[in-house]
């Protein structure tokens, strides 16, 4: 496949090439919606069936870390949009800066996610043999706030009073939690890889007002991954916070 400048040989014009790339990414995002759709359906069905256990599971999540990550991700969407704009108006230096900022924010998000996963591991909330919704309130650590532990103990016991199988149904919640956030994190990692590639190309000065399709379509992808989180955050963190 030969290439003249930025135009691949099987296209007639740059416009045709750009239109194809953008349409391709939109179609890909449609498939992504359906891909996550299966998980959202599984979540909806199970939450409808076991709303108490799902509420209890949701309340064990760290809302501060989750909220922080939400802000981080929205910020990264802003920097990504700025990178696309800079490429379109030909501010080559700004493109690199905003791409690096986006990559940085994405990395922060993933780092916080690691901390959260570690917490779940410590609290015996990984689905499997050792899973126990009571574990944290029964084995508090010296660093834990006793008041908080008391409230959690009361809440968990209330849930067990309503649903004796809270441990089984809580496992379903956490299976979905890890599947959904895990798949989302995987998309973030892919996005980070794409950003590294873009940053390299932008240092080489490849993006101009005439040719910036890669920045634009990676931008589309990045915004999509953000939007998935915008749905995940309330569905996983906020469903039972109103008492």
């Amino acid at each position: 496949m030969h290439r003249t400048g930025q135009l691949y040989g099987h296209f007639e014009t740059l416009e045709q090439q750009k239109e194809s790339a953008a349409l391709g990414m939109w179609v890909f995002l449609v498939t992504e919606v359906l891909f996550f759709g299966g998980l959202f359906l599984a979540y909806t069905v199970n939450r409808g069936a076991f709303s108490t256990a799902f509420g209890a599971g949701s309340n064990t999540l760290d809302i501060k870390l989750g909220g922080f990550n939400t802000v981080v991700l929205i910020m990264s969407s802003l920097t990504m949009a700025m990178a696309v704009w800079s490429a379109q108006v030909g501010k080559k230096k700004l493109v690199s800066i905003f791409l690096i900022a986006t990559l940085g924010l994405g990395t922060v998000f993933l780092g916080v996610k690691v901390i959260e996963y570690k917490q779940k591991f410590d609290h015996h909330l990984i689905p499997g043999q050792g899973f126990d919704m009571r574990y944290r309130s029964e084995h508090p650590r010296a660093t834990d706030d006793p008041k908080e532990i008391a409230i959690e103990k009361e809440e968990v016991e209330k849930t067990f009073a309503v649903d004796q199988d809270t441990n089984a149904h809580g496992q379903l919640y956490f299976s979905l939690y890890f599947a959904m956030t895990g798949l989302h994190a995987l998309h973030m990692i892919v996005g980070a890889g794409l950003l590294v590639w873009l940053i390299k190309a932008s240092f080489a000065g490849r993006f101009t007002p005439q040719y910036n399709t890669p920045v634009e379509i990676v931008g589309l992808y990045w915004h999509f991954v953000d939007i998935v989180w915008i749905y995940l955050f309330p569905l996983l963190y906020l469903i039972d916070r109103h008492r």
Binding site: E19, G37, G38, L41
Partner: protein, 559 residues
């Protein structure tokens, strides 16, 4: 591109995509981005899986020769039909026509140099091969005994066979299908030659547009579903396991949300093939072009709304069942539109009995039987009686083998001169088409009767009174096998020894016939400009249908 009359050709073109070199030998094939070469890579690999699936089917039919089972243990029998289904559905039928003919022909038919994303096209083949290796690994290390449907909790908890690699293989393979569909949609939108308007596109391209819609909307759902089932098996999670609060019916809904539309991934491209063959050998514009194009889209859309008719006996609500039953009937309308339009095209046509035409006529006959028995199954009350019997087996084989594979083999005969530049023996191939038709009917028609009499599918034994029909079916299968082996051998033979075909041997009206056979790597020497309507034999002196040859039939049968 002008429509000048043809000249006789006796030699292959000097330069074409098969002898063009970019790098040496094998490398120039494994790293190619030429859609035509990738199509041939797919042709080779789907043939491997067709062969594997065929051997397994043969073993099933030999086993069922006697009521007690003649060949294998019950456990092995379960593995035979499962692996037959997985190999045939996911690795032969779904990629067959789209990835081979769609890949080869869509750019040629719309006057493009290649698909929009040639590298992604090659990637999709590699993904297919990797997925295929996972599945072959599963077949070789314990086999697979869950049925091709992977119902949970059998697949996720209880099965002792190699489910995990198989599920991962199908998950991976799904992305090959998604990327192919994505590539086709974008190509059809952005790569059409000047003058190639939407309603000048061959109906084959319309059929592939509809197929691609199903591929991109359905495949991700089965991918995530099988991934969840795989995670459930690997990490003992409970998504679909009732013992842990999960819901096995949820798995079935998600699975059939893809796997019913997947039937249309198999049959729509075959319908596209038939829509090309029929007007060519009736020498007539196709009857009701817009309706055939629209019916492809309608099948794709309605096809997404019928999945729960696979689940009438799961205890779903009566109202849901009634709705799905009604919607399933609706699919018959666009399907019938196609059949009636094909037969109307034949009416007062100037019909020539070339091999592709015999396959196409065979397709129509078998598809009508398969389609009508589908209505029996969509009928709520009757389905309770024939659910999970050989009636279902016969029905879907009439659609998938009688329909999709017949279309595939017909397409192979139709475009073989374009792909290889050579013709195959005419009488032998017509004979093979008839063998295929007879063998197929003898194999599967008795199964309708068996099913109606109550023989359940997936059982390794049956009561002695069913033996006669089973022996008939097995006898038919051996004739059917001959019907496949014959084309395999003479097509292979023709690659070297066949008569040179020339650019347009039939002749047909599509843009793909206006370039050399085999085509150049860039498909056309100059980008064609399309100024004529599709399937128009009258205003095309370049087809050589003037004096001395049968004159083209009138455009409208009644004038």
């Amino acid at each position: 591109m002008s429509n000048t009359p043809p000249t006789l050709v006796r030699e292959l073109p000097h330069k074409h995509y098969l002898n063009a070199t970019y790098g040496a030998g094998l490398r120039s094939w494994l790293l190619t981005t030429d859609h035509k070469r990738i199509a041939l890579l797919y042709l080779a690999s789907v043939t491997v899986f067709f062969f594997i699936g065929g051997v397994l089917a043969t073993m099933i039919r030999i086993h069922l020769l006697t009521p007690g089972g003649a060949l294998v243990t019950p456990e092995t029998y379960n593995k035979l039909f499962t692996m037959h289904g997985v190999a045939m559905i996911f690795f032969f039928l779904i990629p067959s026509i789209p990835a081979v003919f769609g890949n080869f022909l869509i750019p040629l038919m719309i006057g493009a140099k290649d698909l929009a994303f040639p590298k992604i096209n090659l990637l999709s083949w590699y993904i297919y091969v990797i997925g295929g290796c996972f599945v072959l690994y599963s077949f070789g290390t314990g086999g697979l005994d869950t049925g091709w449907t992977f119902y949970t909790p059998l697949s996720s908890v209880y099965s002792n066979s190699a489910v995990t690699p198989a599920v991962l293989g199908i998950f991976i393979n799904g992305f090959s299908s998604i990327l192919t569909g994505l590539n086709f949609i974008v190509t059809i939108h952005t790569m059409r030659a000047p003058g190639m308007t939407w309603f000048r596109m061959p109906l084959f391209v319309w059929a592939h547009y509809a197929t691609s819609l199903v591929m991109i909307l359905g495949t991700p759902v089965v991918a995530i579903t099988l991934l969840l089932a795989g995670l459930e098996r690997m990490f003992h999670l409970g998504f679909f396991n009732p013992a842990l609060g999960g819901d096995p019916i949820l798995f079935q809904h998600l699975f059939w949300f893809y796997s019913h539309p997947a039937v249309y991934i198999m049959i729509l491209p075959a319908m596209g093939v038939i829509s090309e063959i029929i007007p060519t050998f009736a020498r007539k514009p196709i009857f009701g072009y817009a309706f055939i194009a629209g019916s492809s889209i309608a099948i794709a859309v309605i096809g997404f709304l019928v999945w729960a008719h696979h689940m009438f006996v799961t205890g779903e609500s009566t109202y849901a069942a009634l709705t799905f039953s009604f919607l399933s009937y609706l699919v018959a309308i666009p399907s019938a539109v196609k059949v009636f339009n094909w037969t109307s095209t034949l009416y007062k046509g100037s019909i020539s009995w070339d091999p592709p035409m015999i396959y196409a006529l065979g397709f129509i006959g078998l598809f009508v039987i398969g389609g009508l028995t589908g209505l029996f199954l969509a009928c709520l009350g009757l389905d309770i009686h024939i659910h999970d019997t050989y009636f279902v087996v016969a029905h879907f084989h009439y659609i998938m083998v009688g329909g999709a594979v017949m279309g595939y083999v017909g397409g192979l005969h139709f475009w073989w001169p374009k792909i290889t530049g050579r013709l195959y023996p005419r009488s032998l191939s017509r004979f093979a088409a008839v063998v295929l038709f007879i063998g197929f009917n003898l194999t599967f028609f008795p199964q309708f009767i068996l099913g109606y009499l109550g023989m359940p599918r997936r059982y390794h034994t049956y009561p002695p009174e069913f033996q006669v029909l089973n022996v008939l079916s097995t006898a038919g299968a051996s004739i059917l096998a001959l019907g496949y082996l014959l084309p395999m051998s003479y097509l292979t033979w023709s690659m070297r020894y066949g008569r040179v075909a020339g650019p347009n041997p039939w002749p047909a009206t599509g843009l793909e016939w206006k370039t050399d056979s085999p085509p150049l790597t860039e498909n056309f020497e100059v980008t064609p400009v399309v100024t004529w309507e599709p399937y128009d034999f009258k205003n095309r002196p370049d087809l050589g249908l003037g004096t001395g040859t049968p004159s083209p039939a009138p455009a409208h049968g009644d004038d």
